[in-house]
Symmetry: C3
Subunit: 279 residues, 3 copies
């Protein structure tokens, strides 16, 4: 692994790659992050690539707050470079992530909302700091359905009632509640999280790769959404995010400090509940 | 909302409708309740209807004990009025409930068994009093499989093993166990339940309706049973509930106070375990 | 029930059959156990067979440690006798177990790994000693994907992320973690386990059989993998278990006491993490 990225710091530890998202000031998912993700997934698709990847964040408060709402066309254009025609969406990029031969483990500290949560959902395993992790799908509160996998993954992971709650109420979930609902594999005490994740990664990296790939493919065949499902969700998001409601609510959030390191982003779940009611 | 119902008290709080089942003496699901449900669902299907509905019960001991076993043909005839030809079943009525544009939240105190539990399962979210909620599917203990959605929903929510336990053993579940198994979203301390549910309802009611409807439809597409599955379960229930075993066990339950406010109904799960063994 | 088996002790208690696996020295799943399972399932398929079966183990440390890795062709040949052409696999035998008219309850003390865990997953309900149960799918750590149902069942029971963790990391799960992930119905204190399971069995055995069969069949229709899925997993296991990696790692395990009552088998999850890393 010698490629270098603008927004991802990589470090190889044996056959385990540590990929740390580092896109100041707050790790928004914009064109640069997506461009780097596209390149990293391409690199990880090679037969000689690392067998296991740990994803974490250089920012203790924000793993990925959400997409950069001012650059939806731009990051979508970057995502398109990972797929074929008609696949211009984060959802299809994240589906590619789910199908990598590498085993992907997300280590969550801070906030992962919207497409940030959907990135985690596309990884193979998710472990979160009990004290410091927050997950949320704020899209409906802003004015569009989640478009990059949350509909599909959350419904399969936690069932219809809890998925409807998570998506329709757009509330923040702490790590313990996220574990109870199945959003993450486990909440782990923050002081133990690094060693816990490193242990699983080291263990898996020593196992025969053909068995890992065969087992992962078989589980994917049962559990991944179809491309048609992913594309339909992406199309609906891209349509409604341009609606008057979504535009107006996004504007109201920007007046309150949206996409800056402040109270609105730290407690976005709360902020959504205090926007003016939609018609 | 100006319609009035014999068995449902409705109160509009902003764009949140509170619908309280009040069918003395014990909220049995009989022809009157089903007729009112059919009318309420029709009203909630209109574009100008409330965006969010909270369902609760005026009876602290019985949300819905189960259907009125003396009036299966009568309530089924009422349910038929909600659907097309061949859809004479509570199961298809409840499927219609699941597909409403309104967001439906069930607040459970007391017992919800049989079709009462299946009503809850058809709602979008279910929150239950930790101290005072009981869920159960007593049908198999009586002599028929559940026919109005439990087979489909419980299997998807809790997986094969736990669904088989809930359905085959026909035992009562308290709120904590129901939460662990995924039957409900959460068990909430009784003293906090009203405020908790009102908070979610108020929050969701302020969100853009097109996003709510799009997200709910997409989650439904992944999680709702097909009409064919619902009809098959209804047909099997309607066949076996007329069997000699079911008739005999129902008669034995009536000798013990079935369908009256007493020990047999309060602890129906226990009562089923003490019926004479079937052949 | 008068048939007698070399490796299964049976005892009829009313209409509940207790079937205790007793294949010293450590209950390996070899040709004898499979032959007896084939015969027992045949017997349980008869209309007059017991309505409920409790499966447990005579060995408090090992329910089923895993298959006898020295006799894969032999036990596969025995499994073939349960099915039609092309169904020579434990997976198809276990699928037959899942479709029995009898209600099957597994009571777990000790270790159930590999096909031992998959046997449990094919039963209708699984209750485990909180203090003394261990579950695991060590296959990937050895060099092959699980082949007899774990891929299908674990993904459906616990969702993609947790199934990938259980299968790819090949770690041991204690009963509490297995309950949180949905691998088992419940962890029960060891001192209460016998009475708890006997209570459910006695209760269910008194319920009308037509209702039990109808409800189980309907739940199976939603939750069981298709024969094609089961056959594909079996084929992949049978292919990779003969690979160089699997052969080498199995040999290394045998040098450490694999398939004998010692530290390697007691803590097989740990042992897998200390094998030489595969290429």
């Amino acid at each position: 692994m010698t490629a270098s990225y603008e927004t991802i710091r990589t470090r190889l530890d044996g056959t385990v790659l540590c990929a740390t998202f580092d896109a100041p000031p707050m790790n928004l998912i914009g064109p640069e992050v997506v461009r780097d993700l596209v390149a990293l997934l391409e690199e990880l698709s090679h037969p000689t690539a690392p067998h296991v990847v740990i994803f974490d964040s250089a920012d203790v408060d924000f793993f990925f707050p959400h997409v950069d709402m001012t650059k939806v066309p731009e990051y979508t254009a970057e995502a398109a470079k990972a797929g074929g025609p008609g696949d211009a969406s984060l959802g299809m990029l994240f589906r590619k992530l789910s199908r990598l031969p590498a085993v992907t483990i997300a280590k969550l500290r801070g906030r992962a909302r919207g497409a940030g949560s959907e990135f985690l959902l596309a990884c193979d395993m998710r472990f979160a700091s009990r004290e410091g992790a927050v997950l949320g799908q704020p899209e409906v509160g802003i004015g569009a359905p989640p478009g990059a996998g949350a509909i599909q993954h959350l419904t399969r992971l936690m069932g219809r009632g809890r998925a409807l709650e998570a998506v329709l109420a757009s509330s923040d979930f702490d790590a313990d509640l996220a574990e109870r609902y199945g959003w993450i594999n486990r909440a782990v005490p923050d002081a133990e999280l690094d060693e816990f994740v490193a242990g699983i990664a080291a263990r898996v990296s020593g196992f025969p790769r053909d068995a890992l790939i065969a087992a992962k493919s078989a589980i994917n065949a049962v559990s991944l959404p179809t491309p048609a499902e992913v594309r339909a969700d992406a199309a609906l998001f891209q349509q409604l995010v341009r609606s008057g409601n979504a535009q107006q609510r996004t504007a109201e959030l920007f007046e309150q400090g949206f996409q800056t390191r402040g109270a609105t982003e730290l407690d976005l779940g709360d902020a959504l509940g205090h926007l003016r009611a939609a018609d």
